[in-house]
Subunit: 487 residues, 2 copies
């Protein structure tokens, strides 16, 4: 009786509708340039097109898919457009999408080795591959005392690094007794906001995060770091963690990891290196200067889901001593006990992050590396850097503009100069740059975002979208020049 009625989609129906969805995505890829990059809808516009209540009876899949075009697309800001230069990229690619699709189709949970051994072992192997690919220190290999894990985002990875540092420093006492308000952590004024958020989450308090000053290139001043650590120690506080950034969000500045690392070693502080976007550049030997000193780090993170053509979410997090991380986050209730875990011969990744459950995320990363090969990945990274450098040269050659920070890799920070177009007045200059950005973004032709550097509104132009080519960057520069003439 119960066998007769089912509302499930049968395998044959899945095959048919799955082909339709794949076709929809292939068509989307072909026409993505035709959409305004930044969505033009007003707040509430998408929501108002959805019924107020869920349907009592199921709807046909054609109708559901039809709403992608009618309801969803107008509300999309097209991160996969080659004209996307905002924030940092969040790249998709064919092999990544298909790896992710297989992960969804298999629908396995990788919380324990035993709940799908392949989910753990492919991940471990592929993250070991990445260590030499990026020229990272061997201590991050799973075959030694360290190892890597895929997390959702760099925010989560950095939180885990902070927690492991907290516990290593207190001899795992804060895990049991809670924090006491005396632990101190360090980053620069340019460090990503996720570190401040992590300080709050970890019960360490944002007041106990020191934002160390930066030099003229927006990189942390190690002597200022050392000075602040001394001050805090004299005040009876307990320094425990430093976050160095390789490629800051605002300007892609690279902190002096080697000098920071020496300071951390001397004082037994945990050094975490956040290379969320720029880490990918190290695929090319000529850009590996960014990793100078990383062998002094206790943990390191970068996001293949930014610049490495691997769909979000796919953050990679390495630790030099996995035992610290595992002891910090380990739980083993009776209902998770199993022979493989007790044998000690396997990795149970649930003890490497906040969450218990986990998808088979390594499939997409494995597919990307195999599809492109090291050669293909290097080719596209080089090309993005080349295009960004060319763009920086055009900015330098136009007297209306100035570069706001060194453009070392694929991010160019620039602004309209004060004076010629304004009253030499800072507020006016800021308004002009803001206006330029809004004109460009509202045109739909490209999308870029801003930051403040030295207190001034600065436009960020990040070349890293999967499909961005020379013609897109050339056209973007034309449009910037045009609109600059109008503000």
């Amino acid at each position: 009786m119960s066998e007769q009625k089912s509302f499930h989609m049968s395998p044959e129906e899945f095959r048919r509708q799955g082909h339709a969805v794949v076709d929809w995505i292939a068509d989307y890829q072909s026409r993505v340039e035709s959409f305004p990059v930044l969505s033009r809808v007003q707040p509430g516009e998408i929501r108002s097109q959805l019924p107020a209540a869920a349907p009592e009876r199921g709807e046909g899949f054609e109708q559901i898919l039809g709403d992608m075009e009618r309801v969803v697309l107008p509300g999309i800001t097209h991160w996969q457009s080659p004209n996307f230069y905002a924030y940092f990229p969040a790249n998709a690619s064919g092999p990544a999408i298909l790896g992710d699709l297989l992960s969804a189709g298999l629908g396995v949970q990788g919380m324990l080795w035993s709940t799908s051994p392949a989910c753990t072992e492919v991940e471990t192997r592929v993250l070991d591959w990445l260590v030499p690919m990026l020229g990272l220190p061997e201590k991050f290999l799973s075959t030694g005392s360290g190892g890597g894990v895929i997390q959702d985002t760099a925010s989560s990875a950095s939180l885990c690094a902070l927690l492991a540092a907290r516990e290593r420093t207190t001899g795992f006492a804060s895990n049991r007794k809670g924090c006491d308000g005396r632990l101190v952590a360090y980053c620069s004024t340019q460090t990503h906001s996720s570190i401040e958020k992590a300080m709050k989450i970890a019960g360490m308090g944002s007041d106990n995060l020191r934002h160390i000053e930066v030099d003229e290139n927006f990189a942390m001043r190690p002597e200022a770091l050392a000075r602040q650590i001394e001050l805090d120690m004299k005040a009876g506080l307990v320094p425990c963690f430093v976050c160095a950034t390789v490629g800051t969000t605002s300007s892609n500045a690279v902190d002096p990891v080697r000098e920071i690392g020496r300071i951390c070693r001397e004082r037994k502080l945990w050094l975490h290196v956040d290379s969320a976007m720029s880490g990918t550049a190290a695929l090319c030997p000529e850009f590996r200067f960014i990793n100078d000193g990383v062998e002094l780090a206790d943990s390191y993170t970068f996001n293949p889901h930014k610049w490495m053509f691997t769909n979000f979410d796919c953050n990679v997090f390495y630790v030099a001593e996995r035992k610290h991380l595992i002891e910090t986050l380990s739980i083993l209730p009776e209902y998770l006990r199993n022979q493989a875990t007790e044998s000690g011969a396997v990795i149970d990744y649930r003890d490497w992050h906040i969450q218990l459950g986990r998808r088979f995320r390594s499939l997409k990363l494995w597919f990307v590396i195999r599809h492109y090969g090291i050669e293909g990945l290097q080719h596209h990274i080089r090309e993005h850097v080349r295009l960004a450098q060319e763009f920086a040269g055009w900015v330098r050659g136009d007297s209306r503009f100035e570069l706001a920070a060194p453009a070392q890799l694929n991010l160019v920070c620039f602004r309209l100069r004060a004076g010629e177009h304004t009253n030499q007045d800072q507020a006016n200059q800021d308004r002009a740059n803001q206006a330029l950005m809004e004109r460009l973004n509202n045109s739909g032709d490209l999308y870029l975002t801003h930051t403040k550097l030295d207190g001034k509104v600065t436009l960020r132009f990040c070349v890293g979208q999967t499909n961005t080519q020379a013609r897109h960057v050339e056209r973007a520069w034309e449009r910037i020049q045009e609109e600059a003439g109008r503000v």
Copy 2:
């Protein structure tokens, strides 16, 4: 020049390979019953089949997809097999897989409303749909003071609830100054281990989590809770948070939320309700008794990725007062500032969870609800409960077995009795049940897991996999009877 060479998969190649992947998954769905449910590989077996280093040159997609069969499948424990009764289910379904695929294809970031308005607004609307669908209190609607957000897992959602409770209690001071070791939280001896993990992460300390005793049905004793709170207050500690569970992991026990809620109201403690698996049952009015008292909760969480046919990860988290959650987790660096955010007219979900970045996860949930309709979801939930109840009846009718806990919904906890098959000795009984489980799991015919209840090894049989039908449950019972005769 740069236009000529590309290693990317073209839209046409994506279409071709995408069809092949969809076909692979449809075939997998058709043959999933033919695999042993629990993977039989040994530690290291999958890893040893992968090359030690990444390929220099890209490989053909046929070769990559071929390794799914050759390398990956033997290492899969088949969560999508209808013979999967272990842990709690992590269900996939056709519409969910395809919604997820579209999310990957669009590849948008929903950290801010402006970075893809549809990603935020579909989510808000669909989570508002679920409030009346589950008979939850109106205060969880986004149209009032509350609202819902999709998180990855209940672990993360419960951590956010604990953090918001911590901050509400301290007037948002611990966010700034860190914790001081005096905040206390409460759960039962049966509460999921994620709460203890959250206490560690939040810097509150696992020693400050009180595991309140349970009654004969494994539900929290509210009088014991009230007593412990009084004790802690007298000791100068600061009680701030209670987690009540609707459907515990070990036995699906339902804590008395209404009585716990009254205690929390009187003493101004934050009440969080974790209904990760069982929450879905409330789709059927006849099972809504589990939500009695939920109107007293400050937050509530359940996992459509468990029993609601929506691929992992998809946790739903509601709060009654979103301002507490947002004030706890909010960050706004310059590079994330934008007009829509400043207008206050939009939701920026980045302030509702740990991570900054986020996928378009509501697509799959929206697709599932529309594909099945309320009617279809109710049908399958009812059917699962009916089958579990039938199974519980068979256990009751076989003198070799005993039920270890009331089977209220779709989880049946049972064990071989002591005595007849053993020396009345607890260790022997445990060994017999462990042996029974291992024989069943090693046979590949089904997969179930254990827990301990009243200190005794107990087998858990959870009926909730998308495709489990009467014939599967009947066959499972036959196999259990057979193997019971052999231990």
